[in-house]
Symmetry: C2
Amino acid sequence: MWQQPTSLFTDHYELTMLQASLHSGAAHRPSVFEAFARRLPEGRRYGVVAGTGRILEGLKEFRFGEEQLAFLAETRVVDETTLDYLRNFSFSGNIYGYAEGEIYFPNSPVLIVESTFAEACVLETFILSALNHDSAIASAASRMIASSGTRPCIEMGSRRTHEESAVAAARAAIIAGFDSTSNLEAGHRYGLKTVGTAAHSFTLLHDSERAAFKAQVASMGAGTTLLVDTYDVEAGVRAAVEVAGPELGAVRLDSGDLVEQARWVRDLLDDLGNENTRILVTSDLDEYAIAALQSAPVDAYGVGTSLVTGSGHPTASMVYKLVARHNDAGEFVSVAKAAKNKASVGGRKFALRRLNERGRATEELIGVGELPAADANDRVLLEQFVVNGEIQAGWTGAEGVRRAAKRHKDSILEMPGSSRRLQRGEPVIPTVYID
Amino acid sequence: MWQQPTSLFTDHYELTMLQASLHSGAAHRPSVFEAFARRLPEGRRYGVVAGTGRILEGLKEFRFGEEQLAFLAETRVVDETTLDYLRNFSFSGNIYGYAEGEIYFPNSPVLIVESTFAEACVLETFILSALNHDSAIASAASRMIASSGTRPCIEMGSRRTHEESAVAAARAAIIAGFDSTSNLEAGHRYGLKTVGTAAHSFTLLHDSERAAFKAQVASMGAGTTLLVDTYDVEAGVRAAVEVAGPELGAVRLDSGDLVEQARWVRDLLDDLGNENTRILVTSDLDEYAIAALQSAPVDAYGVGTSLVTGSGHPTASMVYKLVARHNDAGEFVSVAKAAKNKASVGGRKFALRRLNERGRATEELIGVGELPAADANDRVLLEQFVVNGEIQAGWTGAEGVRRAAKRHKDSILEMPGSSRRLQRGEPVIPTVYID
């Protein structure tokens, strides 16, 4: 994935903390860091973990080569001792967490890093960047999937976000249940299905809409999707059917009142004998617009801006906190900041999803210390992704995405039906701490 | 910058349009595409162009190598003819636009691509990704700078956004007037000043706050910034001064009522003889919080989440439209989509900023065709970045960022004072079309 080191996707202070802790000796204290969200975005019922596979992919390339070291030396970000430490840096600890695609709630221990302070500290920024971005997109995407029922959703938002965010967003959307993406780089990296046919510019390029449709059908076959709203929608639909015939794959509507338009376009297509031609709608859709379109004869949704910007919540607001570390006696002690509104529960956690006899989730159980004897219906939520620095197989690349999409689907099936409600509300199950 | 081709940061449909237009022959029609925003985000008075330098950097690497071609062939995104075209792809046209850092308004022609349809079409997604993301961040950052007056702002949002967006966001923030960033990769790529000292985890790692402060000062000198709110702020400030002495560089406050806290911390520092110790505040600041803190004795602002998510507007919503193309007679004709609410003005544009006799902007003048004889006070807004495929010097890398920051500063000085108002309102100058 990355062809260059990921180590400088890091805040300056991670390395100054490293330097100061190497100086004090505390850098080598065994430590536990935890990534979690104190709350869900306002009104959201659940969140979706995403980014974990990308973190593991980036971890492979998290090293300080000559170029990175030269930059740090020239700019005097850190001293010689620290440069020596970074020259040999290789993560040797353990990483646990919720499987990618899993649902999370406030204070769910989404990712846990067990290593020396030094090793966990330098990973902080990169871990949070991936989790916060990708989880925000997956969480929004999951709501869109809940709204769209059995109709496929297509991710089309690349142009509305940074070009690399676009790739990660496409990946997160697929994890949350999207059918496909317009993003070719995402298709390339993660083996995702990509789709797309034509924009308004293609119609405008030709001397008439009919000439454009003919060119498209001649090159791509009658099964293509024709964009029919460049000039007049009714004339566009008629021209599309005349040019492509009864085998026309789909028409795309990208403007106007889509609910009303889809209805009469469906009637028109049927009248013209194109009962099998599908209707794809795009145009600034979000989960609410999708819900409103469910009563219209629409076959698929193309979603862009709202998806890649998290539908109002572009970041998941996860934090990464030191929760336990060794003292001088070599024992783990829980630590927590005492400032107002930011109290953290210290210590290495376990996490279970309690399910009732019908397999529906009722509580998120979190505690510090050893895993309690699990109830038959409890599902253990923490997986181990890295063992003594070794990244475990199955979580990255195309395989990781497929596995995460499966995990998300299964986790959604466990949720109470109220998880699909779009209205603002409380988390759909409570987070409960047990001793 | 990019060590791999940027060509797959592209929507699938750009390449299917290419294929169909190669088939019809229209691919080679000389064309003009324009990137612009139909409107500013709701209530915003102006936008800031950013991303242009990154587009030019990416354009250098916009080629289809064996890996990209193999992907497109295997997945049958395009046919053999199109693969042959892409194998030899190299942009050979002209690109004009507003200088990076320039202010823009609704319908300002922010970027203009003049080339064949084929060449301009395949660049669409990448161009919009960079413009939409970076301009959203720069536009938010500029408002924060307007609020902060002469106090420096530090960009610290990397962890809240995708790791590559974080680099672009840091760059955009500096263009808009930020003093520095926490992002090391941004520092490395663009020669930006990076800053940072320590987080709460550093304090929690040590056996006491005092031990942490001692470790930090021993390693980094008394001029460092100590984070004083891990436990009790007053005790923290006292410990910081005792450990670092009168040379303590700054204290950082990251929680609580910052206005009230800054006041008594200032008094306490002064009472302790640390008149020169500065106060840095962080903690979910945005332009409104900064404005509220202007009356408090704060020396610098650290801004994170709100900046990198565009302070409520994470994308600039720019579009990229075909506005003119050759007809069969080899003449340029203006083209525009006719659908409701999306009418575009066709044709190759010019753009001027009309200034009054005091050098203040009064109108954004846009027209189609030749530049009119400019009024003495008009400023021509379009620069040429690419001449027959040759990227012009001075717009990319560290030099491009410095130049963009200068451009932004100068453009802001031209704006009416009402541009600094945070309240929602209309664009600060109107966009006027002239014939």
